[in-house]
Symmetry: C2
Subunit: 401 residues, 2 copies
């Protein structure tokens, strides 16, 4: 483990070093093909080349360092994550997975395996600059459509790349799979006191906007029993959303936004517009939870003499991670003396996009305090060492030379 401990320290130091390349001094903000991305690319290229990789940048700005396999090896294993951040981010979301990939290659010390290893730093995952996430991995999956390409082509050209070559970024050849290490961004591993978790599936998502339409009225002159109060109806529904999620194992349901009108302290609200976000690893479970939640809205408004409307904003099916890769990761984690814990990712990740094109799997590292998308985001050095040990075991035993 000594090698992995040293390597883990270096991974963390490098994350912190790359965090200084930002669009906003004093904060970590690095969006798709923004100017500081040049510096990230330059430093990563230097480190990758020193580890024996040949490095290229594809037309959508993904950085790919290829560590060659043994003579005659024709397959590739991809290891990576994304290089972009949300505004005012932490230092680990995304980039940690790229540096773990690099460290795994460095730990091989030049020894070739039975497959090439490509370390990928995706140019875009967070969806900040153009409102569309996963641009980097979509280029590999071949799902950057014309509209999106047109939208981002200026940014690609400004960065010094050729948007017309984006189609060439599509993944070809014999790919063993895609492996992504990522901070959990949630509290589960910390509560279980585990360094690592193996992602079983990435939850599907339904998003709706649900609007309750009542009648705005004077707060002082309208008796309680004659009110058609949109805030009160929304409040009752928000509690049923919470209850539905609590009563259905694995369902996450959230009302994160509520806009009220006319929004005066002395006027009963006439409308209340709520967002709804429902997630689950099984699409059928998610869909039936959504059905019950919307039915509850119908019951509430009919009892209260209001009306409601529900508009679907997003319907994204769950993505299961590759079962073969998951089993191999189970064994690698177990081999380093770590309990095996399978878990669901409630958030979307590049692995979800790559899964359309090749076997994909993810390993989560514990997030102290469950914090992410925040300067306080962190990762423990021992957990990074465990990830490297498990990753090293995986490479040694299943991508052997």
């Amino acid at each position: 483990m000594t090698t992995y401990s040293t390597a883990a320290r270096r991974v963390i130091d490098r994350c912190l070093e790359l965090a200084q390349f930002t669009e906003e001094p004093g904060h970590i903000t690095r969006t798709f093909l923004s100017s500081p991305m040049h510096q990230v690319h330059a430093l990563l290229t230097q480190w990758m080349e020193a580890a024996g990789c040949s490095v290229r940048i594809d037309a959508v700005g993904n950085l790919i360092g290829c560590y060659p396999g043994s003579e005659g090896a024709w397959r590739r294993l991809l290891i990576g994550s994304h290089l972009d951040t949300v505004p005012h981010a932490g230092a680990f979301d995304g980039i940690l997975g790229v540096l773990i990939g690099l460290a795994l290659v460095e730990c091989l010390g030049g020894k070739p395996l039975g497959a090439a290893i490509e370390i990928i730093g995706f140019s875009e995952e967070e969806g900040v600059r153009f409102g569309t996430p996963f641009i980097g991995s979509r280029a590999l999956a071949g799902t950057v459509d014309c509209d999106l390409l047109q939208q981002i082509s200026g940014a690609i050209r400004d960065y010094g790349l050729d948007p017309l070559r984006v189609p060439e970024a599509v993944l070809h050849g014999d790919v063993i799979g895609y492996l992504e290490f990522h901070i959990e961004q949630g509290p589960v591993l910390e509560i279980l006191n585990l360094p690592l978790g193996i992602v079983d599936a990435i939850a599907g998502q339904s998003r709706y906007v649900v609007e309750f339409q009542g009648k705005a009225n004077h707060a002082g002159t309208t008796p309680m029993h004659l009110r058609r109060d949109a805030i009160a109806a929304a409040a009752e529904w928000i509690l049923t959303v919470e209850e539905e999620a609590r009563n259905t194992p694995g369902v996450m349901a959230t009302v994160g936004k509520l806009d009220v009108a006319p929004a005066a302290s002395n006027i009963i609200a006439g409308t209340a517009r709520a967002t709804l976000d429902v997630r689950h690893a099984a699409d059928a479970v998610r869909r039936s939870a959504v059905e019950r939640i919307l039915a509850a809205a119908g019951q509430i408004v009919s009892r209260r003499f209001l009306t409601y409307s529900a508009e679907q904003i997003l319907e994204q099916p769950a993505v299961e991670m590759d079962s073969c890769l998951k089993s191999l990761l189970d064994r690698a984690v177990s081999a380093i003396g770590c309990p095996v814990h399978r878990m669901i990712s409630g958030a979307g990740h590049d692995a979800m996009i790559l899964a359309q094109r090749c076997p994909a799997a993810m390993v989560f590292l514990r997030s102290p305090g469950g914090v992410s998308h925040h300067p306080g985001e962190n990762v423990l050095e021992d957990d990074v060492a465990a990830a490297l040990a498990a990753g090293g075991n995986f490479l040694e035993n299943y991508v052997y030379g």
Copy 2:
């Protein structure tokens, strides 16, 4: 009743005629000492003088038409309401009470009573222009303080009046009382199928801002049982507010505004800031309802591991209307064959301010649909006729010549 019917038609026609004097063409918007107020003053002055009144405008812009009493009469009865409106108002809120006062004098046909009658059109009640309501009636009550005077003195000067003479507007002499006719602005009389209601008291009000502080977190990665969701806590509390009001007769409690942060569909809300408005005719009942409502917030946050804070914004005691005037109005309403109905005013009115200085009473006229502060605001001609008949009976019998 024929006289009163004709007079009622004229009252409504005059309300509609004065509604054309507005700051915004196509809407009825007439704030404190705005330019269209000159036209309202001019036309009212003409009508009042034709009815035998001597008319003056005091330094805060109140229009007062004095119909003299019989020889030697030294007392005055005030009848009035306000001339200003909210933005995009209806044609009856306020001004109806002034025109009913004028019609009552006109119906006397020049016959003097045992007291002078002063018809008052207050310059300001709604609080739109300076954020402070009741400026007109406060000048009569002597509660325009230096701060307020300084704030409004420019507007007074621009209107052609002298702000230094505002103190002279204070009510002096032997005033029998102040009588205000006003649309109910609520649905109660309509539901009871009654034209008129006699106001027992103007409800006291408590206003608070209650903030729930939880923890913003990822909607996809934070398990339900680990959330500290400020929207869900606020929702639970909003239902207890509603329940408290429903379970305590006469209490009106409203959460009209809810501001959530960070307000994103995929982020659990960290804070939710709600307004609370509680009203009741008995201060003790209102205060104990507020106590229970705030205690409920405490219980909810402690069960959910959140915190909360409550800031008092307004604490306005209830104002009882004068019991002698109320009895006289009961008898007058009864005398015209109308059922006597006492009711609480949930909204504030000039009568509440005048009550600090003289006996004050109010008569509500049914509001079709309970609508007010809206272009759809209306009043029925028959109800205005009933108000005039009751008012006429009151004057004939209790302010006799």
